[in-house]
Symmetry: C2
Subunit: 373 residues, 2 copies
């Protein structure tokens, strides 16, 4: 993997990731989430039409269903889902923590039960690397240990220690397995500055080609998240990509890019879409509201996505009201289109040296619609 920074504006960065097979993704990068080897409601052709460069899938989910053997037999995730772009897999550390009803953390492994059928499973750092190698993503993530928010200091300290130990084991296994995937380390530490600093130092000491920032956007709010990003910025090597995992809203993106973040993934835009909430240039629009029953204007008049090019708010509202699943799909196309356009706009503002002005212009309009974020 190569990462080339091409432009900077303050701490905001624009660059390009080059991965194996010549796959390219430009940063700042927003990645739709395809947990189960599919971005919900869409297929790979839709992703190409949207201009998606990279997606995030998940080793926990794919391990449980359909299993890595089956994915490997199809030529890995790219072959299985016929998606030629960049794929990242998360290790599933977060899902073991958040989805399993029962899990036991040991120094060398986490035992958990499947959220699907209650069957018992174990992830070790070594086995998780084998799993992610077989799934075949371009970038894979180290197995980390997550904590809830808020969490006692002692628990945060333990998660940082284990995350470092496991990151070392992941790196060793990854090197032994060979291949051209890029392995990113993950910085934990909750919202405790000393823990974040320690985790950043320990993980960067292991020298990964890129760094994930985990354990944020879990309820701590934008002020605390931004404070953690401010703490991390000088501790992360500037020449390596920084991936803020599970973030975020349009406002989060501006905040994080201004603090040196390069990569994002978030299930929220697609989840909101399926619930009938659309991002627009003037803020969120809840299309099920009765106010739109006869509104013949497109959901976002500033948008040229497949939804806004063709359909009215009234028709989309009708599709939601009659439980047509095309409503979920059209809204997903729109919200992803919005996030991708926003990321492109941010990138161009960095390239043009107008990041701050663009940020203010966007947010001023985005907040003008009087629709709470």
């Amino acid at each position: 993997m190569q990462f080339k920074l091409t432009h900077q504006a303050g701490r905001a960065r624009a660059g390009q990731l080059t991965l194996r097979h010549g796959r390219i993704a430009t940063t700042p990068l927003f990645m739709p989430v395809g947990t189960q080897a599919a971005v919900k409601t869409l297929d790979s052709r839709d992703l190409e039409e949207l201009g998606v460069e990279a997606i995030l899938s998940n080793a926990y989910h794919l391990y449980l269903r359909p299993g890595e053997d089956l994915v490997a037999a199809a030529g890995g995730l790219h072959g299985f889902m016929r998606w030629p772009g960049v794929i990242i897999t998360d290790s599933g550390g977060y899902q073991v923590f958040s989805l399993s009803d029962f899990r036991t953390l040991k120094p060398d492994r986490v035992e958990f039960v499947s959220h699907l059928d209650g069957s018992r499973h174990v992830f070790t750092p070594e086995a998780n690397m084998v799993l992610q190698h077989r799934l075949g993503a371009d970038i894979i993530m180290a197995l980390d240990v997550c904590v809830a928010y808020p969490a006692p200091v002692e628990e945060v300290r333990q998660s940082v220690e284990l995350t470092t130990q496991w990151a070392r084991l992941c790196r060793e296994t990854h090197e032994r397995l060979g291949g051209e995937q890029a392995l990113f380390g993950i910085v934990q530490g909750g919202v405790i500055p000393a823990a974040r600093q320690r985790s950043a130092r320990e993980i960067t000491d292991l020298d990964f080609p890129g760094y994930g920032i985990g354990g944020l956007s879990v309820g701590e709010g934008p002020e605390l998240m931004n404070a953690m990003l401010d703490i991390l910025d000088p501790l992360l090597p500037p020449e390596r990509p920084r991936y803020l995992m599970g973030v975020g809203t349009p406002e989060n993106l501006w905040d994080a890019v201004s603090r040196g973040i390069d990569m994002f993934d978030c299930a929220m835009p697609t989840r909101l879409a399926r619930n009938g909430t659309l991002f627009t240039s003037q803020g969120r629009l809840v299309v099920k509201n009765a106010a739109y029953a006869r509104d013949e204007s497109p959901p976002d008049p500033d948008c040229a996505c497949p939804l806004c090019r063709q359909y009215s708010r009234a028709y989309l509202r009708h599709l939601f009201n009659t439980r047509e699943i095309s409503a979920l799909r059209l809204s997903t196309l729109h919200n992803l289109s919005f996030m991708l356009n926003l990321t492109r706009f941010i990138r161009e503002s960095i390239q043009g040296g107008e990041f701050q002005r663009a940020r203010e212009a966007f947010l001023s309009k985005y907040r003008s619609g009087d629709r709470p974020e």
Copy 2:
């Protein structure tokens, strides 16, 4: 409306319907069902890409939700769903009969409760014409009276009588309302030959530009259905299009076209798709079967639809197993593509004077897969 018969092969016919605004549909014609102003899982752009020429929507459903006022305000169904092709609305007579938990048939009206919320409603032939005029389809259907299968002779007789009376009232109202929509009469009569003959004579005496055949494919089986079509063929004016409502399977299509039928609609191909059953050149394929877990071949190797061009049986099965709604959409695209290709193949076989040979070749292969129809 103009209907031009261009080719015949035995009793099989190929032709062309020209509707207002120059909208054209070729026959034999298979129409996907868009009950609620949407073909389930798809949008209008998908229909254009599939080469769909006409769809069937439903006045009962649209009357209840979103209501004809709202559709009329959007410029009718074409404007509401942004679909430039041909639209037919069924009157909803069948839905009043099949969906409502409670209905009362009177000589001049049917009273029914909404299957959505139990509210009480009335359809008269006159009001139903006003409703369908406001919905704005290119072809509208007379309000008919349906019976269950099997039904007592006396009930069938009553349904034929009322269907004729109402057809007359529909025609009078339609003429008074003016406009360029084409109103089709509907022949009822269950599976009782004398009742079918009487209904055909009475309805054709009213001189409609086209004729629906209702009350078939309701459990009577292909032999009885074909027998009824044989009875009707000499009674229906040859220069008018004949629309066999709610039919059918690939085998039904060959059977009915060979008996002089021009138009079809059926929800079954899309419903089967959503349940994971695909039409293929070698019969039906139940993609959820464990046998396909690692099958990297396309669902139908003979098919060039968006599903078969890009994805494997293994991947589609995974999408169904993980409840991804893209599975429903991709399967729907496939089954509609199959039905449209089949209709085109039948049409070309009539044009080429090879209907019988094409029918045998298709059915021989279709039945070779050892997959029960």
